[in-house]
């Protein structure tokens, strides 16, 4: 059975409705993975609203969905109230990794409160169930195996590895791949072109051989240098991660909210050029709303 991955939100930090961002889309992170009979969702950014409307139209309508939250920054949870209202009959299992599970429950429940979301209390909405993930222990849902791993991002963040029937998809939004790497701030466009950059070992191992790696590629190198500490990556380091992990496809994700479509396309070209110079034949593309891939 195949895995189908669909991008519903690909933008980082804050949604943008600008016409110049229309091709790749302006909604914040949400990726749907269909595997076996299950619907798996990575993050509940504003893109999840449209996913909810789509699920409500499907026949037969799914009875359950499994939502994996990388972290609780606003751009990753902002669409949840609208999603839940769109699919009132759905049971949503919310998975996250946290030392304090009650904080996830408290924050998400707060977001659904009348102070933040003016929903009529009588209006039906999907029910939530909270499940805890452990980085040391994969969980199995139906015939899909899901592992989590910590990512370097202010306040903490987690990536997820979905495996099904010999296929693997890795979601690693919001990660600074260069965190703690000496010399990352001094790089120029040509200074390290023949040397693969060091990348986090745990993510490298998790991504090894993946059919698809979805990873933070918000910046180019000059942007990264002036935004060190924001918890996001240079798309060129993301490329080096994909090459070293020998993934089959790389999707650059979490596009900068100020990036025009042409800026995103330029980043892809930069990455393709770097991969070619390093001798790698790797399909690299920018995640785009409304696009689905099958593996």
């Amino acid at each position: 059975m195949a895995m189908i991955v669909k991008f519903w939100g690909v933008r980082g930090s804050i949604p943008t409705t600008a016409q110049w961002a229309r091709v790749f889309g302006g909604n914040t992170p949400c990726v749907e993975i269909r595997a076996g009979d299950g619907v798996f969702i990575c993050d509940a950014g504003t893109g999840i609203r449209e996913l909810g409307r789509d699920l409500a139209r499907r026949s037969p309508a799914p009875k359950a969905a499994h939502l994996f939250l990388s972290h609780l920054h606003l751009d990753h949870i902002q669409g949840l109230p609208f999603f839940l209202a769109a699919v009132p009959d759905l049971r949503v299992h919310v998975y996250g990794v946290s030392d304090d599970d009650t904080s996830r429950r408290r924050l998400l429940s707060g977001e659904l409160g009348a102070e933040f979301f003016p929903q009529n209390v009588e209006q039906p909405r999907a029910s939530l169930a909270f499940d805890q993930l452990d980085d040391t222990e994969p969980c199995v849902i139906g015939d899909v195996r899901v592992r989590s791993l910590p990512l370097k991002h202010p306040g903490g963040c987690h990536g997820f590895v979905f495996e099904h029937d010999g296929r693997k998809v890795v979601y690693a939004s919001d990660v600074d791949l260069d965190a703690g790497q000496a010399g990352a701030q001094e790089r120029t466009a040509t200074s390290d072109v023949m040397t693969l950059r060091p990348v986090p070992r745990a993510l490298l191992n998790a991504a090894r051989g993946a059919d698809l790696l979805i990873v933070d590629g918000q910046y180019n190198d000059p942007q990264y240098r002036v935004r060190v500490g924001s918890g996001h990556s240079s798309c060129l380091t993301a490329t080096d991660l994909a090459i070293q992990a020998d993934v089959k496809n790389l999707a650059l994700f979490h596009h900068d909210p100020d990036d025009r479509d042409s800026d995103v396309e330029t980043k892809v070209k930069l990455c393709l050029a770097r991969a070619a110079k390093l001798g790698a034949e790797l399909p690299i593309f920018a995640a785009r709303e409304g696009v689905a891939l099958k593996f």
Partner: protein
């Protein structure tokens, strides 16, 4: 006085022109322009809810190629325009060179189905 009169005229005509321009844009159908493959060049107005692309003689957009499946792909109306969907074809579909399963189309997208290459134009 003449200046005031001219000013009034422009106030009266400009909104009318804007309305007319918007109507014009709304009624023009989106189009698929075939630039390569058997049948090219041709311009296909997307004036139906659904189009079948493939080798089948009954396909709305026929692609006469052994690499095309009989009913290879669909183009369906979507609230944002049109959506391209692979119909479990043998050789798949490419969007701007990337193999995709489905995609909401954007102006200027290049769609490849077997030997047929098409450019999508929004109205």
């Amino acid at each position: 006085m003449a200046e005031t009169s001219s000013h009034r005229r422009s106030e009266a005509t400009v909104p009318t022109l804007i309305v007319a321009a918007r109507r014009e844009r709304d009624v023009r159908p989106h189009r698929l322009q075939q630039i390569e493959g058997t049948g090219a060049p041709r311009l296909i107005p997307l004036d139906r809810e659904e189009f079948v692309m493939g080798r089948d003689e009954a396909a709305n957009i026929r692609i006469n190629s052994p690499r095309a499946s009989r009913r290879h792909a669909f183009i369906r109306r979507h609230e944002e325009g049109f959506e391209l969907l692979d119909n479990e074809s043998r050789n798949g579909i490419l969007l701007n060179g990337l193999k995709v399963y489905s995609a909401v189309l954007r102006d200027g997208d290049v769609v490849q189905v077997a030997d047929g290459v098409f450019v999508y134009h929004e109205s």
